[in-house]
């Protein structure tokens, strides 16, 4: 974009357009002929990765919006129906939900790269500030997107975050009412968040255009922080940067696909599989991992208004970075002190993120305060001071000189540190899903675990029998219809068998011509009827505790994994906290109550239930359900079968997910390899 392009298309039709709208010249000068510094490393591919992620989020988001219903009573169900009934809906939803996390992961790497190499310094201040604006828009978009599934964490996250504005003196309360469109978070809030969540990504795309424009005016910074002087210092964007970016994107997609196909719920919160309930606060409200450092800053300050100001200040301060750091040398490569402080700052941010997921008590509060001070000290004390006292090492005269002097650098070790730290950070979220005050459920061997896991058909069929004969007298299964029983990846019944199964049920229908409701035999398209007409009836019939619907129970329950398990889980693809918990609770009833535990009247002691006092009496006993296939009729076997069945009801397309995941991985590895060798060939003459 430096000066008018002299590009002329050879095709006469394109020439005709070009004379009237020089769009091909613009594209050519921006993405083909554009000179890019020769010494860029792989950290610079994150710009392309971010563009890719933005496109991905917009495309998947637009399709999801075609199936989503923004209404407080229907939103949760509509998301579940997307996952269950829409063609590849589970894929779209996983891509969009994990995509948000990957988008933030990439943006943090991109920002830290800018920080390390001084990419915010003159003449790139506006470029940097535009980046901070994009980041702010991303945070708003991400927050509102997380509200849309209307689960417990959606609802309470929205409550906590909108209440931040009530800290503003005088106008606070009216601003919050304006945000809600009511007297509390409710249907109007959901509607406006949906509208804004659809709008903001296009604003982001607009600011990205400005960001890229500013980039192409000032030119890219580079690891040595010296401006290109001669033609020898640069290479044309295409093919050099294009192919390198494609390799970077392919590698990034491998990580992305790992989440989509194998760990879709690793970054989410189990509580968000419970529909929003304004009357019950989850025991521990945690935002998504990418907000945790700022959440920790908010909580570490005892005054409400000051906490909110500090939280927003922690982001706004980035805008002033170009003037806080007045050092002439750009790259920390040549700034021995700045380099050390940079890594300390990265560790501070990660630790803040870890603390953001911990309960605000005891040592965590003290540590949070110390780290909050460190965070601000980096910008307000360390950087201004360093620019005065630090003696930078001599900077090379030109980029080509820097390349000649370059030895093998420890980029790999830095990458390892960053990945390990990132895993710690991401995993800290797992810590937050605590079910406090209970024993850890024992890990089981599940047929559906691991990258090639499949449901055991026999267990699914036996589990269905246990559900029908035992569980269904109190627990509903309202997201499952009889036709699902005949679908691939399920219990393996034929369509006729599913129809016969359905006809055993009585389903309420109507009104008929006379205006009356009537009962008829079930059809395959009907859903499992719930045992109680509404939650209040369920509550009243069960001593005040409504038996939860079991459709999603294995995804809506979890337990604390703790350090270092959550890191190991990422690599072993351990996703079975929910099934382990459900199976443990079914077997955790004990007649003998240990000393020091008091169980209220009407409750029962359960070893694994949080708080130990459960309202459900021991549901299973040996020999209660007969099995036709000779499997042992023990409580352990019942628990295993019904849990397997409930894992299928929570995720009926799991087998398809893992199968497609394997195919995608084979493709991506081949594609990345191809890109790598092409890149080597293209760059052969330039290193």
């Amino acid at each position: 974009m430096s000066g008018p392009s002299d590009y002329q298309p050879s095709n006469p039709a394109l020439q005709w357009i070009e004379r009237r709208l020089p769009i091909f010249g613009l594209m050519h000068s921006s993405f083909v002929a554009y000179p890019t510094p020769r010494n860029l490393n792989y950290w610079w591919t994150f710009g392309a990765i971010l563009s890719f992620m933005l496109g991905m989020q917009i495309v998947t988001g637009v399709i999801l919006a075609m199936h989503y219903t923004p209404h407080a009573d229907l939103a949760f169900k509509s998301v579940e129906l997307i996952v269950r009934d829409v063609n590849y809906g589970w894929l779209l939803r996983n891509m969009h939900a994990c995509g948000a996390s990957m988008f933030f992961f990439a943006v943090y790497v991109h920002m830290l790269r800018g920080l390390y190499y001084g990419s915010y310094k003159e003449p790139r201040e506006v470029l940097w500030i535009l980046g901070v604006i994009i980041y702010l828009l991303m945070m708003a978009t991400g927050f509102m997107g997380y509200v849309l599934p209307w689960g417990q964490m959606s609802f309470w996250g929205a409550t906590v975050i909108t209440n931040l504005f009530s800290a503003i003196p005088y106008f606070g309360e009216s601003i919050v009412t304006l945000l809600w469109g009511g007297y509390s978070v409710g249907n109007p809030t959901l509607n406006r968040f949906f509208s804004l969540h659809y709008l903001l990504p296009f604003l982001i795309a607009g600011v990205v255009v400005l960001h890229v424009w500013a980039l192409h005016v000032a030119g890219q910074n580079n690891p040595d922080g010296v401006e290109p002087k001669t033609e020898k210092d640069t290479v044309p964007f295409t093919p050099h940067a294009t192919i390198k970016d494609m390799f970077g994107v392919a590698c990034f997609m491998l990580l992305y696909a790992w989440f989509i196909f194998y760990m879709p719920n690793y970054l989410g919160d189990a509580d968000n599989y419970i529909p929003a309930n304004p009357g019950v606060t989850p025991p521990h409200i945690v935002p998504e991992w990418y907000y945790l450092p700022f959440y920790a800053i908010l909580r570490s300050i005892p005054n409400k208004l000051a906490g909110v100001v500090a939280m927003f200040g922690a982001i706004i301060i980035l805008c002033f970075l170009p003037w806080l750091d007045a050092a002439k040398t750009r790259s920390s490569k040549y700034r021995p002190l700045a380099k050390q402080f940079f890594w300390i700052f990265v560790v501070v941010c990660i630790l803040l993120g870890y603390l953001g997921a911990q309960p605000p008590e005891g040592i965590y509060v003290v540590a949070g305060r110390v780290l909050t001070v460190c965070y601000f000290a980096y910008f307000l004390i360390v950087l201004p001071l360093l620019s005065r006292i630090e003696k930078p090492r001599p900077v090379p005269n030109s980029i080509s000189e820097a390349i000649l002097a370059k030895g093998g650098k420890a980029v790999a070790s830095v990458a390892v540190v960053l990945v390990a730290a990132g895993a710690l950070f991401l995993g800290s979220l797992q810590d937050a899903r605590a079910s406090e005050g209970s024993d850890t459920p024992p890990a089981n061997k599940w047929s559906f675990s691991g990258p090639f896991g499949k449901f055991d058909r026999g267990a699914l069929q036996r589990g269905l029998k246990v559900y029908k004969e035992v569980c269904s007298s109190c627990h509903g299964l309202s997201y499952i219809s009889f036709r699902n029983l005949a679908e691939p990846g399920g219990p393996g019944y034929s369509v006729a068998q599913a129809a016969a199964f359905a006809s055993e049920y009585k389903v309420k229908d109507g009104p008929n011509d006379a205006g009356d409701m009537f009962e008829r035999a079930g059809r395959p398209a009907d859903y499992f009827p719930s045992p109680f007409p509404n939650e209040q009836a369920a509550r009243a019939a069960n001593g005040g505790a409504a038996p939860p619907d079991l459709s999603l129970i294995t995804k809506a329950r979890s337990y604390k994994r703790g350090f270092p398990w959550f890191i190991i889980d990422f690599f072993t693809q351990y996703q079975e906290q929910g099934p382990d918990y459900v199976s443990a609770v079914l077997q955790g009833f004990e007649d003998h109550v240990p000393e020091g535990v008091t169980i209220p009247e009407g409750s029962y002691y359960n070893k694994y239930f949080p708080g130990h006092a459960i309202k459900m009496p021991k549901p299973l006993s040996d020999g209660q359900v007969t099995y036709d296939d000779g499997s042992p009729t023990t409580v352990a076997q019942y628990a295993k079968d019904v849990t397997t069945f409930l894992m299928w009801t929570a995720e009926p397309h799991m087998e398809a997910r893992k199968r497609l995941g394997f195919q995608v991985f084979v493709f991506l590895i081949l594609f990345a390899g191809l890109m790598y060798f092409t890149k080597k060939k293209v760059w052969a003459g330039s290193h």
Binding site: Y183, P188, P360
Partner: protein
């Protein structure tokens, strides 16, 4: 973007019958989408709330100012933590009052903040006694 007419209309005052609430019990009703705790306080709870040195509280307010005279046993508060809007749990915490599970704020038997990050007492909604056993909220 302010509340529309139907939302405002749905926020009209409601009447609550107190006769089924036994001493030491509390009920939760929803008004304008907000949970309202109505506690039938025991003698002990009232005495505890009145024994406190008001000046020592983070948000000084006497118990007398937070209940209607002649109906001291009834405490009516909006059950929304003044910190960040979670719903505190009744009959928990160290002060015989409310405990917020989100960030650990503790309120006493008069709904006043005693410990934790919340800046203010649980607000008392506008209400009047229609009769001895019935209140109107709003």
């Amino acid at each position: 973007m302010n509340p529309d007419a139907s939302t405002i209309a749905a926020g009209a005052p409601i009447e609550v019958d107190l006769s089924p609430v036994a001493e030491g019990q509390d009920i939760k009703v929803f008004w304008r989408g907000k949970p309202i705790y109505i506690s039938h306080r025991t003698k002990k709870q009232i005495d505890e709330a009145r024994a406190v040195n008001v000046a020592s509280l983070p948000d000084p307010q006497t118990d007398e100012a937070r209940v209607k005279s002649g109906h001291e046993q009834w405490l009516v508060v909006i059950g929304i933590c003044t910190h960040l809007g979670c719903i505190p749990i009744a009959h928990e915490g160290n002060y015989d009052g409310f405990f917020c599970p989100c960030h650990g704020s503790q309120y006493d038997s008069s709904g006043r903040i005693r410990q934790g990050p919340a800046p203010a007492n649980l607000p008392v909604p506008p209400y009047t006694f229609v009769s001895d056993t019935k209140i109107q909220i709003g």
